[in-house]
Amino acid sequence: MKLACVIHRFGADIAGGSEGHCRLVAEHLSARHDVTILTTCARDHVTWRNEYPSGESRAGALRIVRFPVRRQRNLHEFRDLSDRVFAERASAAEQEQWFKENGPDTPALLEFLERRGSEFDLLLFWSYRYYHAYFGVPIVAPRAVLVPTAEDDPLVHLEALRPFFALPAGYVFLTPEEVDLLGDRVPVRTPRAVIGCGIEPSPPPPGPNPHASVSSPQPPIPNPYVLYLGRIDPNKGCERLVRHFLRFLEMTERHRDVSLVLAGPANMPIPEHPAIRRLGYVDDRTRDALVANARALMMPSPFESLSMVLLEAWNLGVPALVNAKCAVLRGQVLRANGGLYYRTALEFAEALDYLLDHPAIARQLGDQGRAYVDREYRWPTVMAKLEALLALAKH
């Protein structure tokens, strides 16, 4: 098949969840299909500043066509409009305007879809929340497959999305919770598949070693520690995680020697505290070592469509402690029997105490997580589901 993957930004150096998912899926699809990436020249997801050159390029088997962003995002206007839209005080026109302001405003991409969309058998659009999908899907609806990457945030409940969600010829979901979230707004007869994302098997780790330390960061990380991996951002629940962890240290009697390691770029101030270690961006090798030696992975995000970090932790046999307010995370932990979840600071402290008090059970939860990844998230399994869906959507 001749396929297009349409995404708001694309590049090996782009760390976003849906962008990474698109890149991995496109690379795997290119083994059997002719795959073109239709994207923008933006690298920065906040401003959408043009940074990549427009036009065609190649990345391995993938052909990439980039379109320039017409204007950068005005953050203040966007925030004010978001407040009105999410307070359900916005008109239909303002709701539509929200998708324009959210960007990346790329009319050349829409013109391309109008002129040449019919050259593709199917066009897969990632992330309904961005301009390219909201305005692009209606142009090629009979050939459009939407990968919504929807989270249970106020946006997904907008009235303006009801007709939009009825348009695509097929749906690729990341979790069963995402299917429930869109509910009856997706017509019953529209083909759909829950594929998640593939992950390569890791060599069996040596297992958590309470005496080991991760030596790549300077100074080395002392064990025991629990790990947060990813963008350190209030929207990812990190402020609350830090508060919960400090409260845990006040309450715990046996585990005052535990550290919280935060690895990833920070968009918020992190308190100076001897038990909190901020590492910033870490390379893949350090990242794997950090995960493998952590006593547990912390996943405090209230909004997720699929947590790849969670799968990475399970891939290395590490249990997780996740925010139960995110149905996706709670669902993943329950399906995998791969960790614990919490709603409040007290539950966080109790659950963390439990994992640290019972290392054998914690290890078993991690192993069960790995077995779940083996069952559901290896590439042959994921691609078999996706290929079946594409075949259905094409007819």
Partner: protein, 157 residues
């Protein structure tokens, strides 16, 4: 393989155990600080479950009391900024000055207030949900009491 032979460590019972321990700790602390009613564990659990349902288990956008209060624009907090004018010519200039000159200068204050308004608005919704849960509980008890009263009258007759 039967459940008893299943070697899987199930998460759900562990969570129940953790929630139980947290509840017990909370109750102890409250009793120690003078809320003697919670010495009754069953009563504490009922209260906790009712409030938990109001705070966590309900869609806070769909409540009865706000519907009865009428036009929500008149009573809800409005944390978002709206711009409008009734002056056809001068109004535009005033709006422009407010948006482009005044707002950038005072945005820090606006955003600080806005985040507090948002918290208050959310808390208001949770309190409305709590009131509604209590009203439901009260209505059920009243209904049960009336049924029992009727029954006892019938028995006496």
């Amino acid at each position: 393989m039967s459940d008893s032979e299943d070697p899987t460590t199930q998460v759900a019972p562990l969570i129940q155990q953790i929630e139980g321990a947290v509840g017990a700790r909370l109750r102890r602390r409250l009793v120690e600080h003078g809320v003697s009613a919670y010495a009754d564990e069953q009563l504490f659990e009922r209260v906790r479950s009712l409030l938990q349902h109001a705070a966590d288990g309900r869609n806070l956008d769909v409540l009865l009391l706000p519907e009865l209060l009428g036009d929500d624009v008149e009573w809800t907090l409005e944390p978002s900024l709206t711009w409008s004018t009734h002056r056809p010519v001068v109004g535009r200039a005033i709006l422009f000055a407010k948006r482009r000159l005044l707002l950038p200068l005072t945005r820090w204050l606006f955003e600080y207030s806005q985040s507090n308004f948002k918290r208050q608005a959310r808390l208001n919704r949770i309190l409305l949900a709590c009131i509604e849960e209590l009203a439901i509980e009260n209505a059920r008890l009243r209904r049960d009491l009336e049924t029992l009263t009727h029954r006892s009258k019938d028995v006496r007759m």
